[in-house]
Symmetry: C2
Subunit: 160 residues, 2 copies
């Protein structure tokens, strides 16, 4: 991660792309969200979804996993250039999380995040706060998930 | 689930109680949120958390799992009384999800949900929308998570 001071509003991150298989949809939902339309094809066909659909929580945590991996890639690239790497996390929370359309079996979701606000932390002078809007779009270009999250990121150390 | 018409603002559900073990915290985070402070005790001690802490996503999906189980218990109880059971889900999204304090190893979180708004669906006459505020409180009585979610629930069928 770059230091807080080096992050600009409008910066975008291509977080990654993921295809949701039936097995994976059912495995996640069995563990964390065992509603019939997430775990059983026949029940899903009879539901408003009309077919097996991923838990919304599943579509969100896949973003998280890929975002952590992307930050790690960026950190390794920075270290290989001899640049410092700022600490990031934790998140304070989310707002406006919207599950806009179902994610069906074999849908491929492309996730992107964009910095929409940066501000200094009142309580922690060594940290800044990044607010990011993240989206997931399916292979038909339809928005399926959108949310805004705010995360602490380390500020550039003051030179002595 | 009761029909939309039978749900009143202010109704509370005791969703359940869960203790987060170190193994479970690391297993979830390894899969979905592999930041150092969620997967590695030594790294967590050096972090702002000062010790291994659960992923915020983990503390949220445990609520989901217990809420589904609680709804199932309520549905079975209703069926055993010969009462109809309304369909529920999916959720449209969340707002104001706040991770207010870390959840550390062996913390026990008690989840509760309260209906804060009910309204008819403009687009789907057979469904209503329930808005619920959910909270998780640790064994010291401190709020660790809070969020507001909105979910479709079936309306009472019109008698013919």
């Amino acid at each position: 991660m770059k230091y807080f001071e080096d992050v600009a509003v409008g910066e975008r991150t291509a977080v990654g792309r993921h295809t949701f298989t039936a097995d994976e949809i059912k495995a996640f939902a069995t563990r964390f969200d065992p509603q019939p339309f997430h775990v059983d094809e026949a029940a899903a066909e009879r539901s408003h979804f009309g077919g097996l659909a991923a838990s919304g929580w599943h579509t969100a945590v896949v973003w998280m996993r890929m975002m952590v991996a992307e930050r790690r890639r960026q950190a390794e690239a920075a270290r290989s250039r001899g640049e410092p790497v700022a600490a990031i996390g934790p998140a304070l929370g989310l707002r406006e999380l919207k599950w806009l359309r179902p994610v069906y079996v074999d849908d491929t979701i492309t996730y992107e995040s964009e910095v929409i606000e940066t501000r200094e932390s009142g309580s922690r002078p060594n940290l800044g706060l990044l607010t990011v809007r993240s989206t997931g779009v399916n292979q038909r270009g339809e928005l399926v998930i959108s949310f805004i999250s705010t995360t602490f990121v380390e500020r550039r150390p003051v030179s002595k």
